[in-house]
Symmetry: C2
Subunit: 320 residues, 2 copies
């Protein structure tokens, strides 16, 4: 066989990204599709089929494809279902892998989107050759993929790796999606950074800040970053605080599975050292002696738009 191919699909809250990927991790062609515009899952899959079919044809036809790999919020590796995903338009339990297999006539493997990202890091990214690592996705939410002995941890029911929902600050910030208080996701996500900025602005109403020029609607984590880079003190403190909490969560994770590396991924990582420095300092401060100065914390070197597709497609090689 000259070159085998896979379809990689990343299902997000607003957009699905998909592409044709070869064994070397080259995305031959890619496209995207709105998820929110298709509240009926069958409509969504029909539209996905319409878009993918010509791409598959151009790549040499169905017989060159080993399968479809999918990453999705609350995706279950064992059952191929998406179950009660708070951030998706499709409610309840969706037998996604089965629906895809029926439609495309290709074996479909589905997992949690963060787990797919971890597989991507393991096969194509900075965790290549590393047997024990954790990937944390810092996006709209916080996802995690845990690798132990070279294998993704899925747990007894396929749902393991939800570090975003672990409680880091007892009685802390309310999370609308889950009803919990003080979870990692409620702080160390794009949403969390925005909320921290509002809290800090409210706590010191007279302190000057570039952040005050934006309305509640306008302010994004990206703008908080830009203000911080312009020297805005409150904006800088927002990232210090975010890193402090993220570091506490990383320390707890390290004392659980003792990984060699933690790979951070997603929109918030654009903050660079502004986030990395307080994160590592806080992690180290919360580790007991035997774990100190051992864990490499790095930002993913995969292009963000590609990584989700790559990770999802890598599931196909992984399960072959």
């Amino acid at each position: 066989m000259d070159s085998q191919l896979a379809v990689g699909i990343d299902i997000g809250g607003t957009t699905a990204k998909f592409g044709i990927v070869n064994r070397e991790g080259i995305i031959i062609e890619q496209d995207r599709l709105s998820t929110t515009a298709h509240p009926d899952i069958n409509d969504f899959i029909d539209e996905l089929h319409n878009k993918l079919t010509p791409m598959i044809e151009r790549a040499g036809g169905l017989e060159k494809f080993i399968g479809i790999g999918m990453g999705a919020p609350n995706g279950n590796y064992y059952t191929g279902t998406i179950e009660y995903a708070p951030n998706l338009i499709w409610k309840g339990i969706i037998p996604f892998a089965q629906l895809m297999t029926d439609k495309f006539k290709l074996k479909t493997t589905l997992t949690n989107d963060a787990n797919a990202a971890a597989v991507g890091e393991m096969i194509y990214g900075c965790a290549k050759g590393i047997k024990h690592f954790i990937t944390i996705t810092l996006g709209t939410g916080v996802g995690s993929g845990i690798v132990i002995d070279g294998r993704i941890v899925v747990g007894h029911d396929g749902f393991a790796g939800e570090l975003g929902h672990t409680i880091i600050r007892k009685g802390g910030r309310f999370h609308k999606g889950t009803g919990s208080h003080g979870s990692l996701e409620s702080y160390a996500s794009a949403t969390g950074v925005r909320e921290t900025a509002f809290e800090f602005l409210a706590a010191d109403p007279v302190a000057p800040s570039l952040l005050r020029q934006y309305t509640t609607e306008e302010l994004t984590s990206q703008l908080v970053y830009e203000c911080a880079m312009l020297g805005d003190e409150i904006a800088q403190k927002v990232f210090e605080f975010t890193g402090e909490i993220l570091g506490e969560a990383l320390a707890n994770a390290v004392m659980f599975s003792s990984p060699e590396m933690i790979v951070l991924f997603g929109g918030l990582t654009k903050a660079g050292d502004l986030l990395m420095t307080p994160t590592v300092a806080s992690m180290e401060a919360n580790l007991i002696q035997v774990f100190k100065n051992k864990v490499k914390v790095v930002y993913s070197n995969l292009k963000e738009s590609d990584a989700a597709i790559l990770g999802a497609s890598a599931l196909v090689w992984d399960i072959e």
Copy 2:
């Protein structure tokens, strides 16, 4: 071969327990030895050899033995060393497995004492046949052994599974051994229960309590339990609070590795429902939907004095 045998040794802060164990998990003979009385590790091993040699002879001689399994605080599976164990008299890095092999001429496998307990539960205890579970030892300290896909999680350096040191209450109680604040161990251990009792007594100096009849020296977690069973309100609140914190830690662990079962073990489990009820309630309250009402939390059914030896000996069969 009629019956193969193993030596199981559990190294504790004050006492080492050891025994001869067969494949069925029957402890044929056992004994114990003070660890604190032998500040030189070579003296300790000599004395252990003196005590074990006649036991090995009575059991049929060295040729019937497959090996020695040891559990020890800060024991490292990869290197066979004990490293910087705060609760042991031997300081620095002790090449324990090598010293034992040299002395006994038997292959020695060493691991963290909590990991050894998990192996014991997996082979002889209530986790038999279960692929994903966590064992939490609630003794003087809090240890943990994590099993994923039927294998103990040791991490990249052999030190994984230190849930006792994860931070559950940011800025909380100081832990003398590690310098951390708010770790699970500082609350959910025998030592922690004692401290909680003192805190609760001090916080409400006029409330009547049976606990007040004991001096600081006298009060133990066992006495707190006995007072609680006699209806003492403060003593009961101590266990409620302990369970609340333990449950929060269990919830975080469940969202990490999604185990089917959590096995609690050690002195504090004598508290029975007094501890179990608030622990499970708090765990469930802190889990996101997808994990709720799925995890069995149970007390170990292994006899406490036997379990440590059994678990350590089981390492021998495990690595054969």
